[in-house]
Amino acid sequence: MSRPGSLLRHPRLLLGFRIVVFALAIAWPLSWACRVAQGEAGPDPGRYLLLEFGIGALTLLLLVLALTPLAKLTGWPGFGLVRRQLGVWAFVYALAHFACYLLFIIGLEPALLLADLSRRPYIIVGAAALLLLGLLAATSPRAMVRRLKKRWKPLHRMVYLALALVLLHFFWIVRADLGEWGRYALIALGLMLLRWPPLARRLGGWRRASGAGTEVNRRR
């Protein structure tokens, strides 16, 4: 009889999972590029890409924060293994979002960038979030984790601050309907609640109590 637990922990499977996540993170923006190339993105493709990359970065950020609760719930190490990778992808998407703004919204006009950075709160907050995500991405390679030792974890808790800034940035551009923003904010709130110690403890305890999956196999 095959033992699903040990199979799921097989190093080659875990490596395969990381490669799949990598491929998906590239394929998603490629699908947007295809839509633009086929003229399905409408008459304002620059704005279309800007919005897709913005929403994409926020989605990846929420996904990153869902990985820890998922790992606790299932006990599968694969989720933990792609966390830093997805975090870096969130930054890459945010950087592409910023590039779209520079190219398609302000037309690479330095005066407009300076005016926006000095006068417009949502641009300032967005820029701060981008810098923060950049700092976290730069300290995400394994070598940096080792070098920073005990300081790494407190530094990377700043991801919560980045999420808050991104949501504020999004909130401030809403014009007439808060529905879409509300959905993302609700998911963020849910993920934060799962980190509340009483709930977080129960998450791990639930899996052990149900006796399912890998934990059982390891005990044998």
Binding site: G42, I105, A115
Partner: protein, 343 residues
Amino acid sequence: MLIRRREHSHALEHEVTPERLYRDYRDFRRERRRVLAGALGFGAACALPRAFAAAGGYEDIDPGSAPDWFGQRLGDARWKAVEPGPEDRLTPFDDVTHYNNFYEFGSGKDDPARYAGGLVTEPWSVVIDGEVARPGRLALEDVIGESRLEERIYRLRCVEAWSMVIPWLGVPLADLLARVEPTSKARFVRFESLHDPEQMPGQRSRYGLIDWPYTEGLRLDEAMHPLTLLAVGLYGRSLPNQNGAPLRLVVPWKYGFKGAKSIVRISLTDTQPSTSWQSLAPNEYGFYANVNPKVDHPRWSQASERRLPSGLFRPNLIETRMFNGYADQVASLYQGMDLKADY
């Protein structure tokens, strides 16, 4: 790698109608339209919406459906009564009809095209009330009255810093106002759009910020200005639902949101009416909302605009002009006013 899928709408070479046949058929349709327009003069009162070929050189445009009176009026429309500048190229019909702000149908740009299809626009009537000698409820046909339909090719500048060039079909608002005879107390005109959550999903959203119905307003002299248009069509056909069917306002020197869509009520008032966007965010949207590159929206610059369609490799960013390029005709309306304070 670029993967090209063939769209259903893309014809293969062998499916293309030879030009001569096409031209013959086009002439035939033109002739038929002329005959039909005459014959239909009688039965117009009990009109059901029907399809007319788009006119005015837009034979390739999906004609949609329109009441009979509209088809007749197309016959003597004054084509290209107002033309844009030499550098203004028409925004393609597909873009004009699939990139819309019409929050009654949702906040996404493609929501109106997706959800407005079911809006019932026939029959349609408009209540005229307030400071007028002849108030009442007018059928859409009577809103147009005896005025000849005119094609006006206007620039449309959205407050979100994108713009289009659209060939509208309509009549001067001044014609209607003259017929209903504003009293001496009338100083403003208020426009009210349809409020019908059953037909308009955006009005059902619980997180919407707009207080329905959508309302807009003009000063009486702005409303009487010859450029101010009551539009019933575009691209040689009736207004597509997502563009504000069957009756909308077009004020080309103001931001697009001043152009109330699906109008059901026009009131003349002695005080400045409250308008939807101004009520929602008075620091962002003023009553006048004249296109003005020197007065920024608090959240973004108004100095330039993306003229659509805008390509990825050659973004079509152009400088925004005072009063959207109509300063010669309208600047005198605002003489002595501080446009930074009255934005």
